[in-house]
Amino acid sequence: MLALSEIVHSKLKFALIALAIGLVVALTMTLSAMSEGLVTGMTGAKGNLDADALVFQGDTYLNFERSLLTTEDVEQIRSAEGVAQAYGVGHVYISVDAPEESFDTHAFGLTDDFEQLPVVEGVGGMPQDGETIVDETVRSEGVEVGDTVTLTPIGRELTVIGFTESRRYVMAPVFYVNMNTYEDLRAASMFGVMAETSDAELPSATHVIDAVEGNVSVAAVKLDEGTTVEGLAAALEDDFDVVTPDEAALAGNGMPVMVLAVNGIQGVSFVIGALVIGVFFYITTLHKTGQIAAIKALGASNAFVYRQLLAQILLLVTAGALLGTGLALGAGASMPPAMAFDPRPDRWGVTLALVYLMAFVGSLFSLRSILKIDPATALDHAEH
């Protein structure tokens, strides 16, 4: 109540403190969301695969581009102990002749489970041959639902039937296609238009194409209740590398280094923010030394004075947290999709919890000065 009265009395001062806390919260949240956006931009299509485990070819270092599983491999995985369900995921590079500018990206062929792709525009589900569902960030290349894009140099066309979200890979929007289309794209990529146009090359080309028919990059596996990723890895022995989608997302493409950098950025912004908040309350405490001395001289315990400070901190940090969250959401809403802003409630929750924690830690500096204030000074400064 003392705490609240003081806030009401000095509205401007406390509004500015709440604003400062709000800006710190907004800064850490925005950085967190942008970092998260960077990570999903790099690996969203990998990490968001609907699976408990991803199975890679052995010794491919969890590399989508290098891993290759044959039809027999996928069968072996599907029939392994503890596997409830398994589908293949194929990866192939494509170049898209877009209205704005041509760009290189990735096509993912799924043997099943297109329902895992959230539909943000158009339709979802299994695409027909020659159709594709694309990550919505492709809009910034001028591609819209209903458009038909040409793939160069292979001369294939894909019709966009729907947009999905958080499905980029190495910052490029992933094109999801069915297995027929995937195999066609891969064959065309391997041999160019040559396979279709040159009779002379046909026998050997078809031979190779037949040989790789049904091959995928990785198998996405859903496990039976009670089976762990480690359990599956043991069941499959050394022929395969088995990890969770999250682990796969953080491997390859320079991700380990990027994650370190991103955590460093968040850590630094966080520590500075915490210091700023702590220093603010420390200054307001130093500012009130005379008043605190008087209250202590009247018989207030240190605990009483500290409780008032904590109540104030709680109120101001809560106001700042609401303000900061609003600002961060506003900042995110005004960013173009390509800027990769991915607010995650769990991360923001952690940020908020840490802001409260740091405000509390900051308050301990104030507590130290409260303890040091000598109530006797309330009587003796009068004559000077």
Binding site: H9, I295, L298, G299, F304, A378, E383
Partner: protein, 222 residues
């Protein structure tokens, strides 16, 4: 019956060659229901004496006895409880909490011990009424005159029914006429009750409102 006895109290500040003797063998007692004025020039040790009785300073030697009980304040915490429950202090510059209204400044006292109840509020309003500032109860300190502020400070000190009221230089910020008026009111309040009042002043006219006067020069009673 004497409520407060101060026996052989000495206080020195500092150590070695920088040592200052602020009080030397000060002895006196105050009867229940009476007001004692301690009169002395600046630097004579008045505030030091007040601080010792308030439990804000430890005497270098000597002892303070209240109601037959010697006061031993072993910790900061004990001293705070002692001040809260037995002592009322009126600071020279009042130290009203600037963001609390007059009545809320009084209610701070019961709050130090827990909650302020409806009964506390009525008591607070009654005290403000008694000191002639009932209609100023809702005003903030900066809206009050110097005299009104002092009366709020006195009413606040009385709020927890202290056994000992300590008043530091009640006229320093007031003209003499208004000062004597306030002292007279305080004297009336004390006389009807089981409490004593110790008032410190350098002004002879102010001391006339007290039941007894003790003169202090260079830390000694003369």
């Amino acid at each position: 019956m004497s409520l407060l006895e101060v026996s052989d109290v000495s206080k020195t500040y500092g150590s070695g060659r920088g040592v200052v003797t602020a009080l030397e063998d000060v002895t006196f007692s105050v009867e229940t229901g009476s007001m004692l004025a301690i009169l002395g020039p600046s630097g004579s040790g008045k505030t030091t004496l007040l601080s010792i009785v308030a439990g804000l300073l430890q005497p270098t030697s000597g002892r303070i006895v209240i109601d037959g009980q010697p006061i031993h304040l072993r910790s900061q915490r004990e001293a705070a409880l002692y001040r809260r429950d037995k002592i009322g202090i009126v600071f020279q510059d009042y130290h009203l909490i600037p963001y609390l209204s007059a009545v809320e400044n009084l209610l701070l006292m019961p709050r130090l011990a827990g909650r302020a109840t409806r009964a506390h509020r009525e008591k607070a309003l009654g005290l403000l009424e008694e000191f002639g500032i009932g209609e100023r109860a809702k005003h903030a300190p900066w809206e009050l005159s110097g005299g009104e502020r002092q009366r709020v400070a006195i009413a606040r000190a009385l709020m927890n029914d202290p056994e000992i009221m300590l008043v530091d230089e009640p006229t320093a910020n007031l003209d003499t006429e208004r000062g004597t008026q306030v002292v007279a009111m305080l004297g009336e309040h004390v006389r009807g009750r089981d409490m004593t009042c110790l008032m410190v002043t350098h002004d002879v006219r102010m001391a006339e409102g007290a039941d007894r006067v003790l003169r202090l020069v260079d830390g000694r009673v003369v």
